[in-house]
Amino acid sequence: MTQFSRRRVLKVAGAFALTGVAGQTLFLSSARASSEATQNTLDRFMGVSSALTAREDLDGDLARALLHAHLLTDQDFPEALSRLEALLKAQPALLSSSRLAFAEDQSAQEATARAMLSGWYTGVVGEGDQALYVSFVNTLANVAVSDVLVPPSFSYGPCGSWQAPPRPLQE
């Protein structure tokens, strides 16, 4: 019998979906997402996302799902992405501090950056009635702590395994 590590099981379980507030799930096919968002937009989305997250290992499938959600919740998202990309190219120092500190006249670009970061780290795009669930297990916040915690609703381990001091979970 094949034994899978907890982390591998979670990774498999972390399929992406878009869910509206009414509970309707719009399962996302990569092909459909790709057809709706040009490869060029996806490339730019990945580039800006890498800069904001300081990660080169972003998941391509999750990126497509997030981009699709942004396009659904903000019809001007491609233009907003372009403006943010241009700003970061012109002023790379904007990402040299630990917090976003854009100038007052760059507030629109900062809002786009925050929306993209929120998608990657919380798995939700949009706010209020427009909020769309995209991912849970694979959010970067959950990934950041995955050596110690499992996302809520998934099994941590046998009863009482949480008594021990926190240490990296077994591969």
Partner: protein
């Protein structure tokens, strides 16, 4: 009228109390009909809905909203089902589905302390119950056996028998907090219906850390289990049955319940005994909606007591970052608390309370916080780890005195069925405010002992609900000041009983479900005894 159903006992509301009572009565051979306004939903569907929710911090989000059986919702936009008449908002949450509100809870199953039943006699505040702790002790134990309760035995509530369940092992967080707060604060295991081993066909907890809003494996007891057990015991269940009126005869005995199905077709069911178990807000609503020529103020309301004395635990909270990694999120979400302030002479001066320490994962909340603060990139991830490891969240269960001005009435608004929605009047008085000041001082002391930084108190003057809704159907000897007698029977209606937290005259300092379960079992036995020769 589509259905013509009759039963020995008609129970309205398939939450944990109504279901326990229905099961007990069915097992004596009585025919029992259980009417539930909401739908029946599988646990697996609730788990899926949780994982796919964009609003995971809202414990109601996995539970589908039904306009035919509306429930209060606050996220993303409040639905204003409850008409808030002030001065403080009473943001009640409850679930109208088969199994009721204990689908989402932390399985906290506490007993009151004995003096909770005599606060007027002992401390000159609140109301005395018509029964004592000793009257309930055996029923407490019966309910604990049904739910598989474990916890710290020395918690202020004397026991004749040990807990039926061995306690769930303490998380690292609990161990560290217990050690560092001692001896000034005594942190103890909560009393919970959570399996530390297989019990009653359900598995041991495996640390999903999702007791609220939904345990994915049924390692904790909840109303869905009780309701299914009722059906499996021979109780006839009708879901999506919105009872809107009770009928009565000249003597005040209830003769029928009228309900709408979700297509708004009318149905009428008859019975010998009726039991209302539709929670502490919806049951008063039904009594008030059942006004008739003979009872123009509603049933059981000759003295205008229905819906009064609305209580909860008005809570404040604090969060901070401890000076060592505790990593909340490993094990159950709500494992321990401080109980040394639940009773004492001070109760004559200010409210008693319990202090609850959360072990729920903080990853989602600190991530939102950090994003709001503008963090990004590597520093964001480092801070997610730092704060997720150290963030501690604490809240309290503070006793609110029953005030007749705090009450449930009917509003002028109508739901989709055309029925009046509940209106709530609620305020928090000086007794509670004074207790709250004490709580806040202890919060600061706890934070200090844990080397806290980033201490964030909840907004001064604001109170959150703990969803421990009590008082609105208070039991008592005097019909002029209570709704039900010591058995949960409506004053003036011999064959009408009520179960649930609403019959509790005072709220005490602990989660209220176990007391309500014990009272429901006691009421069931009373009905059996009284109808033995029918």
């Amino acid at each position: 009228m589509n259905k013509d159903i009759s039963a020995d006992v008609v129970v309205i509301g398939a939450g944990v109390c109504g279901s326990l009572l229905a099961t007990r009565l069915a097992r004596t051979g009585r025919s029992v009909l259980l009417l539930e306004s909401g739908p029946k939903i599988r646990r697996s569907d609730l788990v899926r809905r949780y994982r796919e929710s964009a609003f995971k911090s809202d414990f109601m989000s996995p539970y589908p909203y039904s306009p035919q059986a509306p429930q209060p919702r606050y996220t993303p936009t409040p639905n204003d089902y409850l008409d808030q008449a002030g001065p403080h908002p009473f943001k009640a949450q409850y679930i109208r589905i088969f199994g009721g509100t204990t689908w989402h809870w932390a399985a906290q199953l506490w007993r009151n302390v004995p003096n909770d039943f005599r606060t007027q006699s002992l401390y000159g505040v609140g109301r005395d119950w018509p029964i004592s702790y000793d009257d309930l002790e055996d029923y407490y134990y019966q309910a604990e056996v049904i739910a598989g309760v474990g916890g710290e035995p020395d918690n202020g509530s004397p026991r004749k028998q040990p807990f039926p369940m061995e306690r769930v092992p303490a998380s690292w967080l609990q161990q560290r907090v217990t050690e560092r707060l001692a001896p000034e604060f005594r942190v103890i295991d909560d009393a919970t219906g959570r399996n530390s081993r297989s019990y009653d066909g359900r598995p041991a907890c495996c640390g999903n850390n999702n007791c609220m809003p939904i345990c994915p494996i049924d390692a904790q007891y909840h109303g869905g289990i009780a309701a299914q057990q009722a059906e499996d015991s021979g109780v006839e269940v009708i879901t999506e049955a919105v009872v809107y009126q009770l009928e009565h005869d000249r003597d005040g005995r209830i003769t029928a319940a009228n309900y709408y199905d979700w297509d708004k077709n009318r149905h009428r069911v008859t019975g010998r005994t009726f039991v209302l178990a539709a929670n502490a807000i919806e049951t008063p609503r039904l009594l008030l909606m059942s006004a008739s020529e003979q009872f123009p103020e509603g049933l059981a309301n000759r003295h205008d007591m229905v819906g009064r004395h609305l209580c909860d635990h008005p809570a404040i909270g604090v969060t901070f970052d401890a000076d060592e990694p505790l990593w909340p999120g490993r094990g159950p979400v709500s494992p321990c608390s401080i109980g040394q302030f639940r009773d004492g002479e001070f109760r004559s001066e200010h409210a008693p309370f319990r202090i609850d320490i959360s072990n729920g994962s903080k990853v989602a909340s600190v991530t939102k916080e950090l994003l709001k603060e503008g963090y990004f990139g590597r520093e964001l991830e480092e801070q997610v780890r730092f704060r997720s490891a150290r963030r501690l969240s604490i809240k309290n269960a503070l006793e609110q005195l029953p005030d007749p001005e705090n009450r449930v009435t009917l509003s002028d608004k109508r739901d989709d069925m055309g029925l009046p929605t509940p209106r709530l009047h609620w305020s928090v008085g000086a007794y509670e405010q004074k207790g709250t000041e004490q709580v806040r001082q202890y919060y600061d002391r706890i934070a200090e002992k844990l080397g806290a930084t980033n201490v964030q108190h909840s907004k001064p003057g604001a109170f959150s609900n703990r969803q421990h809704i009590t008082g609105t159907l208070s039991m008592g000897h005097d019909p002029a000041t209570s709704v039900t007698d010591a058995w949960g029977r409506a004053h003036g209606h011999d064959n009408l009983f009520m179960v649930g937290t609403g019959v509790m005259p005072t709220v005490g300092t602990c989660n209220v479900t176990l007391t309500a379960m014990a009272l429901a079992l006691r009421t069931a036995d009373r009905i059996v005894e009284e109808t033995r020769h029918d």
